[in-house]
Symmetry: C2
Subunit: 143 residues, 2 copies
Amino acid sequence: MRPLDVTKREEEYLETIYILHKNKGVIRVKDIARIMNVKPPSVVDALKKLAEKGLIEYEKYDRILLTDEGRKIAEKTYSKHVLLTQFFVDILGIPPEIAEQDACQFEHYVHEITVQRMKEFASFIQENCSYVLKNFLKEKLEE
Amino acid sequence: MRPLDVTKREEEYLETIYILHKNKGVIRVKDIARIMNVKPPSVVDALKKLAEKGLIEYEKYDRILLTDEGRKIAEKTYSKHVLLTQFFVDILGIPPEIAEQDACQFEHYVHEITVQRMKEFASFIQENCSYVLKNFLKEKLEE
DNA sequence: TCACCTGATTAGGCTACCCAAAAAGATTTA
DNA sequence: TAAATCTTTTTGGGTAGCCTAATCAGGTGA
């Protein structure tokens, strides 16, 4: 196993590609650029690097595809994204848009155990004192 | 009001300076370097930029001091750091070292409302179903 | 089929951040 | 106080990531 080191930013590109693939099948440079808030040349730079690292398949003017390794990273990141967002919204009552933004950054740093624990905590509370949670959220959402 | 834009990394330097000042009073380049895991020349680069932005007072070979503006940023960041760490440890039962690391990154991105809400949530749970929380933590800490 | 449009790519250049090696300043010690 | 030592700073250079302007490829309508 090569000791790949994937930067935060590369992880974001992988995640974007993963989501585009999931939603539309086709992946275009300009869509990646739009979503990531950069210009197309920056996307091309990134694609070259990701291809060199074996995380995507990419031939210029051709299709863009995640390799198994790239997809693995993207899936892991994306699942953290989803779990973090859920926790912020469902447990803390954070407005979805803000929760998204927070998740979108934290997902690249947070330890596996922390996300896992958030998930377990959410279930535990919902099972054992869901009415307390409801009160908390009610109070916060009313403010 | 100048529209300062402070990078994540600069925020980290400010926070380190703030903590060193709080703990020891004196601030040395080599201590900053050790804590931030960089070499002294990198610290000097950073100090120059922070001084240009008016966030620290710095004359070479002389003392390093936060300005009011610099301290304000450092304090805000540090308080997020503390609150995030507490939440991870006290509510989720994350090992302190990991909690520290997670907090240390997230503190630079997290919205004010999210940290605030974590704080309120922690109090709310501790007041309203501390016993459920205890069970959760017990279960997790035993594993 | 050719001129035009759109999207992708290349070329060249910028900033933030980091480093090693060498020079300069401060400090300690003989 | 002069030499040795420690700390800080400068110099010169590297990488990641982004941009604008120019070029290239592919499709489309006249």
